[in-house]
Symmetry: C2
Subunit: 175 residues, 2 copies
């Protein structure tokens, strides 16, 4: 699933039905277990970058920037298959997930189940977000800036990591 | 997963992060196999109707109307679980799918795989859309109108059924 940088993008990208904002939703699914990990948004550049690198890249609607999943946490998603729906307005991306997909420490962002009037977490965390994101911040503060990827600004740990779910309205969208 | 009509909607509906248009994407997954069947959109009414009936209802952005999945084809989706993501802006609905989810005759709308420059169908149809939708049209033309559900206009067979995928740009959005 790696497209050489020098290759033209596949022509099917132009057959996708991009929204007026130039986006499509991308469902990310664990290729081995079938677990749905997350939903995020891609623009044309994010999709091409995903095809070129074999790792998921998305477009953050709140930050208005390209976003390499796992850039902060190391929890990257390695693409096995890309499927398209009958309307060509949604992608299903099957991946090998390193670590967890959710910034709250879970394998899947869908770790909560609606039960009556409540959302109940019925899954166990697979990593400690405090540890992972603190280490990432420390590494970032001592690492040299990579000038070769100006088009993929890595999100800050704060941007990739959002506050824990609570009864209060969730924070502003970061995916 | 059936909420009595007389019950108030669960309060978590107000904690969902509805878009400016009052919508959220809902991923529909086969509860037994994990296969991702489709993505569609819900407004508040579609979600409440889904909770009340135990069957998926969506909001059609193109027709601007509530839509009961399977109203035309009989291929309803019976809800087993509803999960919410960490941002509370996407639902994952796990269902028992009757027939196929895709109007083109496939179990899943994601029956096409991106391979190089092409989309390749790698799944077999589970029903004949010509037969199913023609029969539905015939039944509709002889059946009395049901005046008890004015808020859930059943889509016409043409509306639920979209033309087959081709190299040409797909038709206008009907989900």
């Amino acid at each position: 699933m790696n497209l050489p940088d020098s290759s033209p993008p596949p022509t099917w990208i132009d057959r996708m039905r991009w929204s007026d904002d130039g986006l499509i939703p991308a469902i990310v699914q664990d290729a081995s277990t079938g677990s749905v990990l997350m939903l995020a948004w891609m623009n044309r550049e994010a999709l091409i970058r995903s095809l070129q690198t074999g790792q998921t890249h998305f477009y953050s609607r709140s930050r208005r920037a390209l976003w390499h999943k796992g850039a902060t946490s190391g929890h990257t998603q390695h693409i096995e298959q890309i499927r398209v729906d009958c309307d060509a307005d949604t992608l299903l991306i099957q991946v090998r997930q390193h670590g967890g997909a959710c910034h709250e420490g879970y394998l899947s962002c869908f770790f909560r189940l609606a039960v009556g009037d409540q959302w109940i977490s019925d899954q166990s965390p697979v990593f400690d977000p405090d540890r992972v994101y603190t280490q990432a911040e420390l590494s970032r503060s001592t690492a040299p800036t990579d000038p070769t990827t100006p088009d993929t600004p890595a999100p800050s740990a704060q941007a990739e990591r959002r506050p824990a779910a609570s009864a209060a309205p969730p924070p502003a969208d970061t995916v």
